[in-house]
Amino acid sequence: MRGMSQRKRFVRLLVAALAICLPQLAVAASEGQKQQAERQLTQPLNNAPVWRDVRAGEGNPYQTTQVRGIETNVLIQSEGEIWREIRNGPVTVYGGLFVLIIASIIGLFHWLRGPIKLRERPTGRWVKRFTDWERLVHWSTAISFLVLAVSGLVILFGKYIVLPVFGGSVFGYAVFSWLAAISKNLHNFVGPLFIVCASAMFVTYVKDNLWRSYDFRWLGNSGGMLWGEHVPSGKFNAGEKVWFWFGLFLLSIVLAVTGLILDFPNFGQGRATMQLVNVVHAIAAVIYMGVAMGHIYMGTVGVEGTYDSMRISGGDGSVDETWAKEHHEYWYKEVIASRGREAAPTGAAAQPQH
């Protein structure tokens, strides 16, 4: 009993000595060090504060390793698990569903409503809508977008959709690996190209996409898409302007910034950055693809005569006057006014001008 109490006294003395010494030793140390010193006073042998540092350490000069590299002095980076849960969970599942649902809605619209036809007969007179430069910029952006979309889909969903097609054979794995490697490299090199194209596109098209008061009316009537009433608009209607500002402008910026961070790991970005940025990139990309599908549908089979304006071959960027009048009436009137003649009544027989 006597020995016991002596030892107790010794321990108390030691603790008191440590209480004096430790805070001084820990002056320059991390918060975890201070906590550890305090913890030893209340709960000797409880090293929890030390072990908390296991999951931290970035920028802590007292947590070291001889190995050079990104975050090599961090023992455990547990946020990777969160990233995994989000990427393999909602991003893959809901992202995939989102793309499929948008595609189905477009398909259903096409099936039920059908393509939007011209109400009156084409005049055969043509109005110049897009210059060579405008079409070149559009298609550079569009093609690089499609390359990015397809390669991105392979990287995100290929494991679940393409790889099982081969039935897990060695040959199948090799083929899919080639596909994925090509996709990854195309994605990484076409990405910066897309930024250049999209920037040129923004500069080229911005003046016609400024928001006007009549655009609200267009939106309110959903552009006459559903009930077929006529809603006038400028060179671009409100739907196109939303696509321009939300898609080409906002989503492009989000994807460009996050994409560049992912594409250039040579600046030593940490894992936490990459995880966050990867999720943002994937979500923005999936939304972009969904909206793009709508744009592609409307620009090709969805609206009769629209594709003429963007033709590279077999057209010079002109549209029929009937199309111009029915879809972009204000713009049509401007063009006609600038030509210095009255807007011709639609349906009137006229000589083809080209």
Binding site: V50, D53, V54, Y62, T65, R84, S177, F264
Partner: protein, 208 residues
């Protein structure tokens, strides 16, 4: 069947980096790639601890889950291996791994990272055992030779244990008991509060 594991005893590690060197030497690993590293917590402070870390061959491996081309596979002994021929070098395994185990020979612009390299538990890869291709891509296959990982075998203080999980857990448990301080190494003071007297030794065979 054995379930292979690594166990790093922080009470024994002296940060000699022998495991790191043994690994690099055994597998002829190029500069910039480090399958194993030693991290020191509170370096130069009282209570400094060092731990050797590499691929921990997780049961539910995050790298395996996020890999877009499914290059990872698990041996019957629980060793997580990968097929470098299929790797596209996207870096996702590196983002997901909590231990920083996946390594890339480059971290170049445009995401050119090269093929991922990581600890194989000295078990090689999908190529035939002892083949030249296997050595070139994954290093020596010591498991096929009937040996344990070089890092653990070389550890001068036997701080790093590698092998059948049951066996190394028994070794570690006996150490913790004979140290007479219970499992304070892992912060068990929290569970039992401030000890009023010497904690009773755990009964042999109890799970720690």
């Amino acid at each position: 069947m054995a379930r292979m594991k690594f166990l790093a005893d922080a009470e024994r590690c002296i940060e000699c980096n022998g495991c790191v060197t043994a690994c690099k030497q055994e597998h002829d690993i190029p500069w910039g790639v480090n399958r194993r590293r030693v991290v020191t917590l509170n370096d130069g402070m009282p209570g400094e601890k060092s731990i050797s870390v590499a691929c921990m061959h997780c049961s539910d491996a995050p790298c395996m889950a996020v890999c877009p081309v499914d290059v990872f596979y698990k041996t019957s002994e629980g060793i997580v291996l990968h097929d470098k021929d299929l790797c596209i070098g996207c870096g996702y395994c590196f983002y997901a791994c909590p231990f920083g185990a996946p390594q890339f020979p480059q971290d170049g612009a445009f995401g050119l990272r090269g093929k991922m390299d990581k600890c194989t538990f000295c078990a090689g890869g999908p190529e035939p055992d002892f083949s030249e291709a296997e050595f070139r891509k994954y290093g020596r296959n010591r498991i096929a030779e009937g040996k344990l990982p070089a890092c653990a075998e070389m550890c001068s203080t036997k701080a790093l244990l590698g092998g059948d999980g049951d066996v190394i857990a028994d070794i570690y448990r006996s150490r913790a008991i004979t140290r007479g301080r219970g499992s304070e190494v892992w912060g068990w003071g929290t569970a039992y509060g401030r000890p009023e007297k010497k904690p009773a030794a755990q009964p042999p065979g109890a799970k720690s």
